[in-house]
Symmetry: C2
């Protein structure tokens, strides 16, 4: 097994028939924990699974595929004989260590924002652009932001048929997108308000919740129209990610994309309203047919029977769920949709695992 | 005082110098309660304020303008000598009783959906189309739906300058828009989940919350992309109201309007993301200037200082709050905005009170 011939100059060696070795960097974090569950459901892909974390977590034992595995400290040596290294760590840790893993011969699959817009790093969603994973001059593949991932599989399927020209997106983002601190903050604030009559007077929620945690306003009994950090012209980093990453994944550098990102008091699963405009005319019936057949998408759209996705029903599942499909009354080229995706699964760990599997298949085929 | 000469054929008589008599129908309901507070803040407009409710509430005493007033039962006689009758009651009650009040000589100001799209009933937002209140062939004026009202004052101000051509709206609607039952349902569901780890497994919230109240899915720790009832082609009544009412209020029967209405676990104050396209090119600086000067609008848009509206801060206030103003990166004719408005105040009681005051001023001037 070798990456030779893939034009990437990366990839680890290995004997014929040997299953590739996977390293999970950040195994003890929120996404890492979900990742171990996902890897346990997909037992046949990997040979050794090596768990890597910060030195303070080294020696800790975690269960994956039903077996206890001891966590090793992040170091250059930890990447010895690794074929694929997943990174579920903060941007600055990925920025430092993914190139080290690649230099040691591993293909790095990175879930941080460190490399997503690097022209020499592909940004991959296996249902949409799996081919892009093969061209990786730096030996690194990036996993998209969770908000983009919550809709892009469905948008890719519709684009393939109708030719996407514009996306106008509003998000309803879950607090687990901010990590454990986000979830803890929501639960603590809810605890202070549950059983009270708060939420009806100016500032009453703000006065009672106290610590705002990672948010610029209360998140309990509230919505917060600001996610990420402030960038040029009033846009947030999260809004620019939706724009730039959608363009890169779809291979449409001039796609019109506008997003307004809003945090809501939901634990896990991002929702988005999407106004999607296409080159071709669309019908709801055609859109239903495409979405029902698209891998990784569940069409759940029968509002007369109360069927449309909501975060509470979608959480813990793998696909992108799509409902409330309507054609704009003013524009036969435009669809309105409501989309839900688990931001910790397809939005993070699952897509990373899928990218790693694309690479594993390539490495195995190259033997 | 007389409505003669207004071309409406309605309006009550009264002696010169006498302040007009107001009837509040539905005084004991959720909006009625907010209304009594608003009327107490605006003491100088009305002479007698008569409180009317269903027979089972008759005899109850409510405080308005610091005085106790006994509620009288809804009947034809209750409208005797009334100049303006506000209706904060269900559609079918308004449909029956607003024409009776008008026949008795009162101008009916109706907050239900019964007459909003009647071509012989004006739909009025005093900051946007006060002149429309004068032409009321049926003696009835309608108050718009709360979701439309949450944005229309700001949109009217921008339209006057730039010429509106399209609105694409996503809502984040509070549960008090569903009345007391909505608020009670959210609080009960939150009470069952606060202090638990629920919200991370498929269906765990749905299993625990039990009664869904007025909603088709759990509302605690969730968002529900369905408000109102199902109409043609997958649209909800709430989404069609935003479209049809915006067109009527702005006097733009061909305005392109698309809405996706989503309920969120917020007690009071609707929020909306708005993509607004104009005939003319726009800049954020111009939009800021217009919004800062617009009556009934508060511009609150300095995200670098953490300043943008959220429901928790806006609840209990009168204006439409606007923040996160950005110009689309792809379209110099389009603005993105985040708008919040208290759905019980400007979204219901306040606008009704303002319409009634427009009529009161007309009746007084006509003496």
């Amino acid at each position: 097994m070798s990456a030779a011939g893939t034009g990437t100059g990366t990839g680890a060696g290995g004997g014929a028939g040997r299953k590739p070795t996977l390293a999970v960097v950040g195994a003890t974090g929120a996404v890492g924990t979900v990742m171990l569950g996902i890897l346990s459901e997909r037992k046949d892909v990997w040979g050794e699974i090596r768990l890597i974390a910060s030195p303070r977590s080294a020696g800790k034992k975690l269960t994956v595929r039903g077996e206890e595995v001891e966590v090793v400290a992040l170091s250059e040596e930890a990447f010895e004989d690794v074929d694929v290294a997943m990174f579920d760590v903060p941007d600055e840790v990925s920025a430092q260590w993914a190139p080290i893993a690649a230099a040691k011969g591993a293909v790095a699959v990175d879930n941080s924002g460190a490399f997503r817009m690097d022209p020499d790093v592909p940004l991959v969603v296996p249902e949409v652009n799996p081919h892009a994973a093969r061209i990786r001059p730096r030996g690194i593949i990036s996993n998209p932001n969770c908000t983009t991932l919550s809709m892009i599989v469905a948008m890719g399927a519709l684009h393939a048929e109708f030719g996407l020209s514009e996306l106008i997106v509003s998000s309803y983002q879950a607090v687990s997108g901010s990590g454990k601190e986000g979830v803890d903050t929501l639960r603590e604030q809810i605890g202070k308000i549950a059983g009270t009559e708060l939420g009806t007077q100016p500032g009453d929620v703000r006065r009672v919740v106290g610590d705002l945690g990672p948010y610029p306003a209360p998140i309990a009994f509230n919505v917060v129209p600001f996610a990420g950090s402030l960038k040029e012209d009033g846009w947030t980093s999260e809004e620019l990610k939706v724009r730039n990453e959608s363009r890169k994944i779809l291979g449409l550098p001039d796609l019109r994309v506008t997003a307004t990102c809003v945090r809501v008091p939901v634990v896990t699963t991002h929702s988005l309203t999407v106004h999607a405009r296409f080159e071709n005319e669309v019908t709801v019936a055609q859109a239903h047919e495409i979405l029902a057949a698209a891998p990784g998408v569940v069409l759940y759209d029968n509002p007369a029977a109360g069927e449309f996705p909501t975060p509470a029903d979608v959480v813990g599942t793998d696909p992108t769920w799509v409902g409330r499909v309507r054609r704009s009354m003013d524009d036969p080229h435009a669809l309105e949709l409501f989309v839900c995706g688990d931001n910790l699964r397809k939005g993070a760990a699952l897509n990373t695992a899928q990218i790693a599997e694309v690479v594993a298949a390539e490495l195995t085929a190259a033997v």
